[in-house]
Symmetry: C2
Subunit: 251 residues, 2 copies
Amino acid sequence: MSVAADAIMGSMTSVPRRTTPAAVKVHDTILDRLGERIVSGQVPAGERLVAADWGEELGASRTAVREAVRVLESLGMVSVRRKSGITIRPSTDWMAFAPEIVRWRLRGAGRLVQLHELSELRAAVEPAAARLAASTADGVARAALGAAVQDMVTHADRANGADYLAADVRFHATLLRASGNSMFAGLTAVIEEVLVGRTEQELMPQTADETALRLHQEVAHAITRRDGEAAARAMTAIVDEADRAVQSLPL
Amino acid sequence: MSVAADAIMGSMTSVPRRTTPAAVKVHDTILDRLGERIVSGQVPAGERLVAADWGEELGASRTAVREAVRVLESLGMVSVRRKSGITIRPSTDWMAFAPEIVRWRLRGAGRLVQLHELSELRAAVEPAAARLAASTADGVARAALGAAVQDMVTHADRANGADYLAADVRFHATLLRASGNSMFAGLTAVIEEVLVGRTEQELMPQTADETALRLHQEVAHAITRRDGEAAARAMTAIVDEADRAVQSLPL
DNA sequence: TCGAAGAATATGTACGATGTATTGACGAGA
DNA sequence: TCTCGTCAATACATCGTACATATTCTTCGA
């Protein structure tokens, strides 16, 4: 790989060091490459590897590789032991709700399975969060919810665009936080991944679905009038509809 | 293996006491100290710190601090910018599901709040997992569920003991995995925390509640006969009862 | 007063050196 | 032949140093 070779050359010669891409940090790049590789199954569970190999292959220093491996370890994807090296752990041990892992799974062959599983998770969590939000949301949160819905309506003619997506993400993120439960709020990043992934998979129509918009408004209104059951019902309908879109995909 | 499960294995006679994993590695020690400090609020959100200070204070090199900070960053607890240093992010951005964060919260003053939030999460997730398991669980999983219930019955006279707790944990863990959804399965460790924590808080009676045992059996039976709705109903009753116990605690 | 150039600073990255736990080979003894 | 202890090799663990780079702060000039 020429990039790696270039990086190695650059580090050997003192003056012309390779200029790294501005916004991207090396350890983030390493982490991303390694994570994607493990999730995709290119490195099977139980495989034992040596950190130095990764560093050499990717043209990065031990420092960068170590930092990436440390994160992979905290994600439960690898275990590190002296002398033995780095062992890939079975996928059942992974922190499946970590945004990074979700993103990697959405990027690979298992993306439809991941989307479906995320839908099932949403179906369980989001109605419950809506029910809680109806009793705990303060004025600021209610206003934010309404504003997010309004933005969705505004950009309804480009439902597959970035503005609509941003409003949709803001709606669900606001609601999860408004539930007052930090566990639910912690799912924000994961929910965001599925919404972004859905748009990237081109599952969104050009024009927003009337029913979907109405349901979002219904959730916001129900929370405003503190009707938890109605909020949960409408949210259930939202995630059910989203799951149907995923289900319609060809496996 | 999770901390909770390990503790269960280690002690059969008394309530397992979760100890701080003897972090033999410096960066694990740093991570643990920093994480606990942030979660406890000793370093408030928005605070800007310098990595070198932490290193000097804890007597560790910059390398070790960097690795710990990298993990904290992946947990959403801090953001790192050049020159600006390390900024503590608001708790709403944290990955509340990370075992580390749950452990830190259970260790500090927010222990009871954390337990209550875990109950709310269970109420949302476990009935859904039971419904899924009814249609996807294979023979092995069904047998494991039945065996776990049987163990609970066997140790019903010591419902506040380690054996009953272990069977209870095994029941819920098996069910979550049997759902066939890796996101639900990934919540196993977190669910374990609340079960162990409930016993530690001495919320369990000496003799197991008749109703609770019957409900667990009902879940297992419903899953065996593929009755998803009945399984979800019974599981809802289980978590509702568990939540009442937590609610009774003084905040 | 304002803006641009430069200094200061904290993180980003690389690498060498040394410590150390773990492994696996090897050989002695039963 | 088998078992067990010893020892060398290995790969991570940690520290320290050096330099790059981005961001902020300061200073100075128009």
